[in-house]
Symmetry: C2
């Protein structure tokens, strides 16, 4: 039922002026050309070519068919070229998903660079703190915190990262320094709101897990709200290093509980690039991944004090 190939064959036969010539052009035996034309004629129930061993002319039906088929074939050829071009010159829209804080703080500043490098591309950056289904929402690339495990997804680590319990020097001046996770229950802890997770902070030291249900005067689903709260000396927050790295460096925030690994969710708080596992990764996706890897390379491991 390979009608399209037969159409192209028919076209070549007409152009070449003989079955054999067409066969030589495309490298198949005259017998195959003969059978192809026959199959086409049979499927249409009409004779397309008047042929003897020396002459070849179109029947009326053949002329009609040829005239109608030529634009169709060139249309298809153009379509294939256009599709193929997508893998050479990126075009269209790239839909990216990230969590709000990471998208705002890390992605947003870098996107203009990416877009100016690829004028044919648009980016649709979707921000939400609930994970989206890549297929459902037609997400090309998602940036997620923590390793995801699904056989239909491809994972690649973008940057290492962890979370740090921290507070401002002003707050620490007014309050006792927490030395063990349990001490945090006496502190004003600024917690992230999620409809899926309780405000529980988990700590790991020497292979021993400690879970603390913390609470405080400020809860928010906006990551930066908590950071600002901590900076202003309101309380203690558990924030990712990619967010508060500069604050730790310049001393406006101080990391607490050294020696403890801390997290509100899982202990792997690195950022991962997540895409669907497919045979043909589109160029735009590949370019975006490459861009991200390069752009975050010098942040491969956010400086984490002590």
């Amino acid at each position: 039922m390979d009608t399209l190939a037969h159409m192209q064959l028919f076209l070549r036969v007409v152009q070449g002026g003989s079955l054999s010539a067409a066969g030589r052009q495309i490298g198949v035996s005259p017998a195959s050309v003969f059978r192809g034309i026959n199959a086409l004629e049979d499927s249409l129930g009409v004779r397309l070519l008047n042929r003897t061993s020396r002459k070849l002319t179109l029947t009326e039906a053949g002329q009609l068919y040829l005239a109608r088929i030529e634009p169709i074939l060139s249309e298809i050829e153009g379509l294939n070229a256009e599709i193929g071009q997508l893998q050479v010159t990126p075009r269209g829209t790239l839909r990216v998903h990230a969590r709000m804080s990471f998208g705002n703080r890390q992605l947003a500043p870098r996107l203009p660079d990416f877009l100016s490098q690829h004028p044919g591309l648009c980016v649709d950056l979707r921000l939400s703190d609930r994970p989206l289904d890549l297929v459902d929402e037609n997400i090309d690339v998602a940036l997620r915190v923590g390793e995801v495990n699904s056989p239909s997804l491809m994972i690649r680590k973008l940057v290492s990262s962890r979370r740090v319990v921290c507070a401002s020097p002003a707050y620490l001046a007014r309050n006792p320094l927490p030395e063990r996770p349990e001490d945090l229950t006496e502190h004003n802890c600024l917690t992230f709101y999620s409809e899926f997770n309780q405000p529980i902070w988990r700590f790991m030291k020497d292979g021993e897990l400690t879970e603390c249900r913390v609470r405080g005067s400020l809860q928010s689903d906006g990551g930066d709200v908590l950071r600002l709260g901590a900076l202003k000396g309101l309380g203690i927050a558990l924030l990712p290093t990619w967010n508060i790295g500069p604050d730790l460096e310049d001393g406006s925030l101080v990391a607490l509980l050294p020696g403890y690994q801390a997290t509100p969710f899982g202990f792997d708080d690195s950022i991962y690039i997540v895409t669907q596992k497919v045979r043909h990764r589109s160029l735009k996706v590949q370019l975006f991944i490459d861009f991200c890897l390069k752009s975050f390379r010098d942040r491969q491991d956010w400086k984490i004090p002590a």
Copy 2:
């Protein structure tokens, strides 16, 4: 390389919303659908469908491809229907070839009937006394005198016919009646001009062949010129019975040399329908052949006196 089938498959998958559904629709296994879509994606080098076991969405390339493919497929479908229609409702031009005299005297009067029976058809009647190559000249049907022998042609006898040496009663009153072919050399013989044949009349009686080189005051390549000459008493002509049948009947011409078979060419002077030998005879050709056979049925054997 059956790309067209793959395109249709892709369309059905999108419409059906799943590979399995498309498979059930067209009666193939899910495995085949899977392989078909894969082959299409591979040939394009692009992923068209985002698919998990529960969801199926189009990629951007898939959307583009779908949009471009739909008109193409319906175009092809329409084309096939149109071609198929040719075998139901005859349409287009039927090119017929015949010798001048037969075309003028026999075909021309019957054509209006044929055309009014098939309003969609046109007839292009080519008249010439030299045989044409059916393929070269794109002749659909030729009406020829005498049997042709070629493996690429289909022959069918339309009407029996022979040639008769004849003259008008007036001429015979002024001249001695020829009794043997040799007597004709003393007569004014009206001969047919052909650049391929000498004006030689051949006679057969009891298996014995006599050839006479005849001559006279009128030679022409117009068949009816000779007939009119004979009618006017100018001389003796060798004319086909389909032409002078009525003249013989009403006595305006008299057949000479009874018992002799006469011919200027071969001895088979019947009229044959000649077409190319093809697998799919087009409807218009078949209709014309049927029409001719029916129209000439009551002339199956032109009345030949004595």
